[in-house]
């Protein structure tokens, strides 16, 4: 299992436990989409590499989530992947934030 789902009040945190997000691990993340609540944060803290198949799967996930009216956020993204996310327009659908900001917004 490469993901761990935690509930923090009304916020769902999907922690990605693998250091590489590829098509396989992205599928697991995609499979977890059914458990996403209205506000979900994907924690990329352990992720060091995301290949194009991983980006593709993530994009489809975040766009689908957005179409369902859910809000997705990205946590702990490296500078390199921040730029990649920006180029593929992922940040429009899944803005970067911090856990503290999310918790503060919830209270």
């Amino acid at each position: 299992m490469s993901i761990l789902i935690e509930q923090l009040g009304s916020l769902t945190i999907v922690r990605i436990l693998t250091d590489s997000v590829d098509a396989l691990s992205a599928k697991e993340i995609e499979a977890a989409a059914g458990q996403l609540r209205d506000r979900t944060a994907l924690d990329f803290g352990k992720v060091l590499f995301i290949n194009s198949a991983g980006i593709s799967a993530l994009l489809k996930l975040v766009i689908e989530a957005r179409k369902q009216g859910k809000k997705l956020y990205a946590l702990n993204v490296t500078a390199h992947h921040r730029k990649v996310f920006e180029m593929v327009d992922m940040l429009r659908y899944m803005p970067l934030t911090t856990l503290e900001d999310l918790q503060a917004a919830a209270t």
Binding site: D19, A23, S52, S56, I63, H80, V88, D89
Partner: protein, 517 residues
């Protein structure tokens, strides 16, 4: 540190002591797929051998003074003949030849067991033979070796015991010493024959598998080489010059074929017009196939219209209907107005192009990759390109190259490199980037396709083209320069887009920003 992705392991032939499915042996099934004609011939040979043994052996045994052995041999031969008949009939009826030969093997095994029972004192030896043969049939290679070893040890032990104790040893009681010796010799020979056959089958199987694996590898390599040649020939020329504009490009797939591509769309009477660079997610043959589809759709759409944003939007819509994209495609399309010196561009999730003049500027324009959402509409921006300016387009294989320490080449390293070499000619700059990535990666396997395209607005006005027309790598933007064997419009459409009118481009409402100086 970021771990470098491990180079993909070369597929290996598993070397376990397992027999091939349906591998042929003295007592077992032949290879799957053996034609029915072979089945008939093998059955005939089998019948012939058994018939000869059944006819010759009993009289010979009786003649030699061993009448008690003749009956078991006759019974065994009769059972084998019946089994062969049934197996052959089944094989012809069902067409499942390996299954028929497995039936032979089972019958052979039963006959051996029966003979062992009839021969009494040698039952244990034959049981081991049965174990060996069954193990081989049911593909437990290690049991075969173990069974053969135990059988050999038992036979040798019995022989030694017989030598030491003679007929008073208690085993084989009731038989004459000469009969004991003969039976021992027969059983030993039979065990040795079967064990040798089993081992020979394994050796043959693995030798055949290794040879066929190498042959398959050779065929695959040859086919991939052809695919590489085809893909290379379909790529746009690596160098182009047109008046004040020049382009150099290079694409290095991580495998023989890749998912990166670049393309030029001519304009204004075959002058430099559109430049596209794309990257299909994944690599190898799947990516190459998808790339071919994307590239074809792009070329069709780019010929129909001039605006990059509109082109990308249409390509994305076509991709949604024309193919079920499993991944995504990043594509950046820039269109140069060579008269005004302006480049218009739209981006579907591709790496930002980099403008080189006195500064190094990333032309930031985000967009969803193609194949992700069919409803996407792309933005468009423009940037003036003054004489001396260059624009570098690249794919993610550049910035995501790893070194042996697992570090990424990264955007910062690339921008610093471009700043250092921003005055180089396009061809030299392309090679400088590639050399830097190669030096950085060292022995680390290339993990992704790498493509770099450099567009340059020459300082000199109307200077003669660099290089000679005899340089095969250098192509001029003329219809006659299509690669050999291809019609001119396969690379440069004879119906150029100048009739659309560059002037209208500047009034397009799609242009929402201007970057650069």
């Amino acid at each position: 540190m970021q771990p470098a992705p491990a180079p993909e392991a070369r597929p290996r032939t598993p070397f376990t002591l397992l027999p091939p499915p349906g591998a042929g042996g003295l007592l077992s099934a032949p290879r799957a797929g053996r034609p029915a004609g072979d089945h008939r011939k093998l059955a005939q040979v089998r019948l012939g051998i058994i018939g000869v043994l059944a006819v010759l052996l009993p009289p010979a045994l009786i003649g030699l003074g061993y009448p008690t052995l003749a009956l078991p041999v006759l019974i065994g031969a009769g059972l084998l003949l019946i089994a062969t008949g049934i197996g052959y009939t089944r094989g012809r009826r069902t067409g499942d030849i390996p299954s028929a030969w497995l039936f032979y093997a089972a019958a052979d095994t039963l006959v051996i067991l029966l003979l062992g029972a009839l021969l009494g004192p040698f039952m244990d030896v034959f049981l081991i033979v049965v174990v060996v043969e069954l193990a081989r049939i049911y593909r437990h290679g290690r049991l075969v070796v173990a069974g053969a070893g135990v059988a050999a040890a038992l036979i040798l032990g019995k022989w030694a015991l017989a030598q030491a104790l003679g007929s008073a040893g208690g085993w084989g009681a009731g038989l004459r010493p000469a009969d004991q010796t003969l039976l021992l010799a027969i059983s030993t020979s039979l065990v040795a024959l079967i064990c040798a056959n089993s081992l020979a089958t394994f050796i043959q199987h693995y030798a055949r598998e290794i040879f066929s694996y190498e042959r398959i590898q050779e065929v695959n390599a040859a086919e991939l080489h052809v695919a590489h040649e085809i893909q290379s020939s379909l790529m746009a020329p690596r160098e182009l010059e047109s008046g004040q504009w020049s382009i150099a490009a290079i694409s290095v797939p991580a495998k023989e074929v890749g998912g990166d591509f670049y393309e030029y769309i001519p304009a204004l009477g075959n002058s430099i017009g559109g430049i596209a660079i794309g990257d299909v997610s994944g690599k190898g043959i799947p990516a190459a196939l998808q790339m071919a589809v994307v590239r074809t759709i792009f070329r069709i759409e780019a010929r129909r219209r001039i605006f990059p944003a509109e082109t990308l939007t249409r390509v994305n819509q076509s991709l949604q209907t024309e193919m079920q994209t499993q991944g995504m495609v990043t594509l950046l399309y820039a269109f140069v107005d060579p008269l005004e010196g302006v480049m218009y561009y739209a981006n579907a999730g591709h790496n930002y192009p980099v403008l080189l003049n006195e500064r190094v500027t990333e032309l930031k324009l985000a967009g969803l990759p193609l194949g992700v959402d069919g409803d996407t509409e792309y933005d468009e921006r423009s940037v003036p390109l003054h004489p001396g300016d260059s624009v570098v387009f690249y794919t993610d294989g550049v910035v995501e190259a790893f070194n042996p320490h697992g570090e990424l080449f990264g955007f910062d390293r690339l921008l610093a490199l471009l700043a250092q070499h921003r005055t180089l000619a396009p061809k030299d700059l392309v090679h400088e980037v590639l050399a830097a990535v190669e030096a950085f990666a060292g022995d680390t396997a290339q993990s992704d396709d790498i493509t770099v395209v450099v567009l340059h607005h020459d300082l000199s006005v109307g200077r003669p083209a660099k290089g000679s027309s005899s340089d095969p790598a250098r192509k001029r933007l003329e219809p006659a320069t299509a690669p050999a064997g291809q019609p001119a419009d396969a690379v440069w459409p004879t119906q150029t887009v100048d009739s659309i009118g560059i002037g209208s481009l500047r009034t397009s409402p799609a242009h929402n920003a201007t970057e650069g100086r």
